[in-house]
Amino acid sequence: MSTMQLDIVTPERKVYSEQVEMVIARAAEGDIGILPNHSPFVSPLKITAVKVKKGGEEFLVAVSGGFIEVRGGTVTILAEAAELPDEIDVERAKKAKKRAEERLADKQREDIDFKRAEIALQKATVRIQVGKSG
């Protein structure tokens, strides 16, 4: 089976860099699956778990504030934060989720806090999902 290079990069480090068979991510207009020899493509990513297939096995990567770029046989995901399953502290994510839910329940807050809590909730949910998959 043919493969392609996948790089997941954050401002702090290179999270992942290997040959993989398929990448499934949630782009701006819906889920997109990328196989080798995909045509050049750029899109922002939603805060989700990106699914990666490598050697017949699948795993998830938690990505937030991300971007995907496909070009000439390489897929690059640029993200503000990205974590592999074994890097995630599920307990911490659960606490963050609870905090965000409490904040959302309190409707009196201003819009900006509300948005921030929503994002925090999404991040926490994705982390829990990815953390449990590992």
Binding site: T10, F41, T76
Partner: protein, 290 residues
């Protein structure tokens, strides 16, 4: 003898203690410098990659305009100054703040014409005490700061440019040249006017599919790129800080060694003088008995 032997001995001991501390500090800074350099190194791929994508988006599509790429008449200026939280780093903060004060004095007539963001306690104290218009600050950053630590101030600085609160944004920080040399630099962060020309000609051009559209991709990428630049400047400034502190502490240790040398000489002189005097007294006493 002006000073007694005991006094001199006390001085030597205190200088020795000081030397131990500065020596330890120097070694700690050397270790931190190495780590900061590594971190700055590992942040590079991200910035390079974003730059690459933006350059190809900007060159691959005609007629895509974004306010961050276009210069507009300057009515107000924003500055983002990166200093350290702690001192004992030689002229690290002083040089940078002097540069800032000088630039501001040359360029602006009143405090209405500019605003300042500041990272680091030293810069904040200096600027606030002198009544500069500081509108954003971050202090207490770790030695290896994470992107999320400065995300807020960075997006505020970039966002205010986008909202046309000011029409250009400068970044002031200590550039890392090598472990013993740092130089305060001022770089224009926004507008990103050089973006279109730099890499447009070189490299393989790719005709991307954009989702949702080229404009929107660019609108997402540009602020993020600017934030990334701020983050890399911060990492560089951290490396400079440790370098500056290492040098300053190295000098302090050398000075302490010199002082110990001088005092030891003084101490030996005083000791000899005391012995000579004692001998003279004994001889004097003996000859008085004869």
């Amino acid at each position: 003898m002006a000073e007694s032997m005991r006094d001199i001995k006390r001085k030597i001991r205190s200088v020795q203690n000081m030397k131990q501390i500065t020596k330890a500090f120097e070694m700690v800074s050397a270790a931190k410098l190495r780590r900061a350099q590594e971190q700055a190194e590992s942040a590079r791929p991200y910035a390079d990659k974003i730059r690459e994508v933006i350059a190809s988006v900007a060159s691959g599509t005609q007629g895509v305009k974004h306010p961050m790429l276009v210069s507009r008449p300057v009515k107000k200026t924003g500055y983002l100054v990166i200093t350290s939280d702690r001192g004992l780093a030689g002229g690290f903060n002083a040089n940078l703040l002097r540069t800032l004060v000088k630039t501001v004095a040359e360029r602006h007539r009143s405090k209405e014409e500019y605003v300042i963001f500041v990272i680091g306690r030293k810069g904040r104290e200096f600027l606030k005490r002198r009544g500069y218009p500081v509108i954003g600050e971050v202090t207490g950053l770790a030695d290896s700061p994470e992107f999320s630590d400065i995300k807020q101030i960075a997006s505020k600085a970039v966002g205010m440019y986008a909202d046309e609160e000011y029409d250009e944004l400068y970044l002031l920080y200590n550039e890392f040249i090598n472990p013993v040399t740092q130089r305060p630099v001022e770089k224009r962060l926004l507008p990103l006017s050089d973006m279109k020309n730099t890499e447009a000609a070189s490299g393989p051009k790719a005709l991307y599919e954009y989702e949702p559209s080229a404009e929107e991709v660019l609108a997402e990428l540009l602020p993020r790129y600017a934030e990334t630049l701020i983050y890399s400047a911060l990492l560089e400034s951290k490396a400079s800080e440790h370098g500056a502190r290492m040098t300053a502490m190295g000098n302090a240790s050398d000075n302490a060694s010199d002082m110990i040398g001088t005092y030891t000489l003084q101490y030996n002189r005083a000791r000899q003088a005391a012995i000579t005097q004692e001998l003279a007294e004994i001889v004097g006493g003996a000859s008085a008995l004869e």
